[in-house]
Amino acid sequence: MLTLLRPAARSGATGVPRAFVRPATALWLVLTVSRAALGDGAAAEPAANIFESTACTTPVSPLDKIVGRRLAKLGIQPACCSDAVFVRRAFLDVIGTLPTAEETRAFLQDQAPHKRQALVDRLLDRPEFADYWAMKWGDLLRIKAEFPVNLWPNAAQAYHHWVRTALRDNQPYDQFVRALLTSNGSNFRVGPVNFYRALQNRTPEGIATAVALTFMGSRAELWPTNTLSGMASFFEQLSYKPTREWKEEIVFWDPDKELAPAGSNAPLPAATNSAVRPAASAAAPAPPARHAAAFPDGARLKRLPPGRDPREVFADWLITPRNPWFTANIVNRIWSWLLGRGIVHEPDDIRPDNPPSNPELLAYLQQELVASRYDLKHIYRLILTSRTYQVTARNPKPQAPSGAALFAFYPLRRLEAEVLIDAINKVTGASDLYTSAIPEPFTFIPENKPAIALPDGSITSPFLELFGRPARATGMENERVNRPVPAQWMHLLNSSHIQRKLEGNRRLKELLKTRPQPQAVIEELYLTILARLPTAAEVQTIEAYTKSGVVKSWEVWTDLSWALINSDEFLYRH
């Protein structure tokens, strides 16, 4: 027994702090893990040992100290997740993609002490990072050709291409937002102008509401009317006009614009001149605004500076380290994307009476964002390499009600529609064909392109619809719904769509040719689908199934794949 304890003891001896692990728990876990490793275990091991780690090798970061202080006050001791849990979680959270069996095996066998950090670094550089996060931003920025925002395919493609490129290149966040707020030009050619194009309500108030939601995490519906109309003034000189190209529009600053009466819901009239007015002609004094321009913090402007696009005046106010809305919004969103819950929750509902659960944590991330010159990947890295991110999904103290809000555990979340279908396709060697017949011209997406890389919210499938892909109508985080409904289970358990993939599983056929021993097949299926090795009890259950006489040889393997795909462990981030 002493020998079995050594690994844990050694990790303690290297000076790695061992916060988060109670000694008693650690001992018990070591014993059970080791018994399984020795193959001594017809009996079912407590499932926890697959998912939890005996020794937390991840260094304690300043972030962990901030989180840990609050948890310690409540007497909560989170547990660290196992390597198998981490590799799957990191792949899904960072690139929206399952690891392959080879990637999982290599990570599990890797003996390097900082392999988790190294994995995070590799994932942040993968092309799927840009795909996956462009999908997330596509929800917030409403990238969709069709109803209700009616961007039209060309504009949706231009918009998505711009966003994806910015994320791929890790464009500093301040520049990213400034481009979205202040660009001019054709919405088929200048991607970011579509921020103003992809709106149902293109009144100044409608625009201000979208800006507040997207970049301040604030719901202007809850503001006093004056605050909204003051902010709306900055968007009163924005104009749209058609070109000869079908459905193309120029979005531009139009200082001479005629204004619709305040409170009207109708889109403002488009300018009539045929060319974009050069900025020089802006020397003419701006027409009086309908309301005095005022920033959401209450600071008023006597008049908008003539000769300057008011959107730039607004961007100057918003995009500064001193504006807490600006920095809090983005770090809080990233936190919530990775940890399933905002420090301010909901993440797009920042307001004084909805305070952060851990203000020090929010402030720390804001400082880090500013100090890194708005480097978003720096924030991702800070979070992903923390112990706080690497806790298990088990609630260590269910009787403490604020554990969830203080990040005592990693909350289960069902895989998003796109991630789920990509994962199913990946483990079965299948693919889905995505097309969009509306509007013309039809869009066909090359087969093998994953759903997370779809540029346009109008390109969809019954599966994506069923599993809660958002309509991209509102830009709100809660538009994406991952709540289970029975029809989803019918689809996963029993649809021809999924059954065809299982029966045509090319990966499995290859595997059976090269490594036909049942034990090896089981192991490979577990690594592929659940990113871990099977336990002895699981192997026994499967062997019993093969002998049950209900199914023939090949069906055993399709049914096993089917069962693993329908297991909670597969369907949820954990």
Partner: protein, 466 residues
């Protein structure tokens, strides 16, 4: 190995015998003393459902005449002048090759020549010939016709089917085996039918083809899998699905387990029999027509008989006949005629027509004047100025015509009918208060219909045929 999943299910099961989702309201969960952290989390997670489920149908109108609705949606927009508002005297530039009108069993009502079957059932339905909204975009017009709300608001409203799923389904303890809002067979996918109500209120789209030898309803009837194997592999799944034992009392997993249980109630339970059209006599199946649309109409009747409150048939084929118009009409018109006539006759013979509304239209009509220029070469384009709707049953009188168009079918001549008037009438017959508040994700004031909405026109409900 006993899984946590079945443990968690116990308390959910006591209240969720039907398709109501985990029908545990926040209140109920608290009443049962479910006060642990997990319970609170669950209550929070059930939040949106609970909000929806508790929405009080404020100020119910009179007793419901209609128990169910079958909507036949002619996606793309069917020509009104070639079908239910024929203008035989308008000349060849307007009628094209479909220049004949035929009499019906109601004196004074004529139909286009492609509808001899419906002509024999004209006493059972009424025609609105003055439907108008002047919107010529597929998506916006379809949204308008199925929500009654003007496109362009911040949030997308739910379609009438989703409103039924809420107010005639989940919020009133619907216990059917089949989801309360079913689409035969494909969702239209151009706007989110559930709108802001969320995915629970999306229609259940059957997939498959009811005219095939076996109607393989996606997720319910699987090809090539015997019941023995279904049962065995479910057992395998439950044995391998040990994740829950690592996460005792996890509320998300409890919800997942409840959803899975309900799926199996349909897969291995009685629900699937509703979709077994082979139980109908060959003669009746022939009467509906041995084509996809005809058998969809028959499947719709079986669903209504089984208690489903709202069924939409998205016509299997488009009516967006910019080109190839007359050939498409010659192909699809007779199938539409046969299926609809068969449905009205069958519902009537079974005494179901009095309690079942049938309504049929596209999102708009088509230009009464034929476009003979290339590339259309005899096509008709989008036309929202005026078009026709067929309504029957559930309190709608038969054998009437509402409104009229001018001599060429180009404008409303009398009694305009706006989307809000049509949907308001359907809601009224179904006992749904059109002013009822809908549960809005941000708590905004949202109602089933909003006659006061800026620019929303109304000329009154269809009292003349109710």
């Amino acid at each position: 190995m006993k899984t946590k999943r079945s443990d968690n299910r116990q308390w959910l099961d006591t209240s969720s015998t039907g398709w109501c989702g985990p029908a545990v309201s926040r209140r109920e969960a608290l009443r049962r003393g479910f006060l642990g952290a997990a319970g609170l989390l669950l209550a929070e997670r059930l939040g949106d459902a609970a909000r929806a489920d508790e929405a009080p149908p404020a100020g119910q109108p009179g007793p419901a005449k209609a128990r169910a609705v079958i909507q036949v949606f002619l996606w793309g927009g069917m020509s009104h002048t070639d079908t239910w508002d024929p203008k035989p005297d308008a000349g060849y530039d307007y009628t094209g090759s479909l220049k004949n009108a035929i009499p019906t069993n109601v004196t004074g009502i004529q139909l286009g020549e492609l509808f001899p079957g419906l002509a024999k059932q004209a006493d059972k339905f009424s025609l609105i010939r003055s439907m108008t909204h002047r919107n010529n975009g597929h998506e916006t017009a379809a949204y308008l016709m199925q929500t009654g709300h003007l496109p362009g608001e911040r949030l997308a409203y739910p379609s009438i089917g989703a409103v039924f799923a809420l107010l005639k389904g989940y919020s009133v303890g619907y216990q059917g085996l089949i989801p309360p809002y079913v689409v035969l067979t494909q969702p239209q996918g151009r706007f989110s039918e559930a709108g802001f109500l969320g995915s629970k209120y999306k229609p259940f789209a059957t997939g498959g083809d009811p005219n095939a030898s076996r109607f393989e309803v996606e997720g319910v009837i699987a090809r090539g899998i015997t019941d023995a194997r279904q049962t065995a592999r479910r057992d395998l799944l439950h044995k391998l699905n040990t994740f829950g034992s690592a996460l005792p009392d996890n509320p998300q997993l409890a919800l997942a387990a409840a959803a899975e249980q309900q799926a199996y109630d349909l897969i291995l339970g009685k629900g699937r029999e509703v979709f077994d059209i082979s139980k109908e006599t060959p003669a009746l199946r022939d009467r509906y027509g041995r084509h996809t649309f005809g058998q969809e109409c028959l499947a719709a009747r079986r669903l209504v008989e089984a208690g489903v409150p709202y069924v939409t048939i998205n016509y299997p084929g488009g009516w967006d006949t910019h080109s190839n118009h007359f050939a498409t009409m010659q192909r699809q018109g007779p199938q539409l005629d046969q299926g609809l006539a068969g449905l009205l006759q069958d519902l009537s013979e079974r005494g179901l027509l009095d309690s079942t509304i049938v309504w049929c239209c596209g999102e708009f009509g088509r230009t009464p004047k034929v476009d003979w220029q290339p590339p259309w070469n005899g096509g008709r384009n989008h036309y929202g100025n005026v078009f026709s709707v067929l309504v029957a049953g559930g309190g709608f009188k038969g054998g009437r015509v509402v409104g009229a168009t001018d001599a060429k079918g180009e404008e409303v001549k009398e009694r305009p009918v706006y989307p809000i008037d049509l949907l308001g009438s359907i809601y009224e017959l179904a006992g749904i208060d059109a002013n009822a508040k809908l549960p809005h994700p941000m708590g905004l004031d949202a109602h089933v219909l909003a006659p006061g909405e800026a620019g929303a026109k109304s000329a009154g409900r269809l009292k003349e045929i109710m």
